[in-house]
Symmetry: C2
Subunit: 86 residues, 2 copies
Amino acid sequence: MFDFWANLVSAIAATLTTLAFVPQALHIIRHKETRAISLWMYITFASGVAAWLTFGIMIWNWPMMIANTITLSLALAILGMKIRYG
Amino acid sequence: MFDFWANLVSAIAATLTTLAFVPQALHIIRHKETRAISLWMYITFASGVAAWLTFGIMIWNWPMMIANTITLSLALAILGMKIRYG
C-alpha cells in the first residue's frame, strides 16, 4: 500500500517537472524572444539533467531514463533558442 | 564501490538541478523583466517539485527533502517575480 502511494506521488512529480518545460519552449518559439531567460540556468540545468540521466542508466531505472531524456531534450532546445535569439 | 559512484553522480545531479535556478532568479532581480519567462512553466514546475518534496518526506530521504525545499523556494520566488513584473 505504501509502495502504491510512493509510486503514484513520484510518477506525478516526474511528469510535472518534465512537462513544465513544454510551455517554456512553446513560449519562446511563439515570441522568438529570450531576454529574461538566464543562459547560465539552462547550461547548469542541462548538465544536471545529464547527470540524472547517467544515474538512471547506472541504476537501470526506465522511468528515470525516459523522464530525463525528455527533460534534457527540452532544456537543450531552450538553451539553443536562448543562444539563437539571445 | 558502485554505491560510491551512484551516490556521487546523484549528488552532482541534485546540486546542479537545484542551483540552476539561482542565476535565473538573480537575472530577474537584476533586470526586473520577465517577458520571456513562461508563467505555466513555473506553476507546473513548482507543483512537481512540491510532489518530489512530498515523496522525499514519504521515503524520509534527507537529501531529497533539502534539495527539493531549496528548489521549491527558488521556483516560487521566480513565479512571484513573474506575477509581479509580468
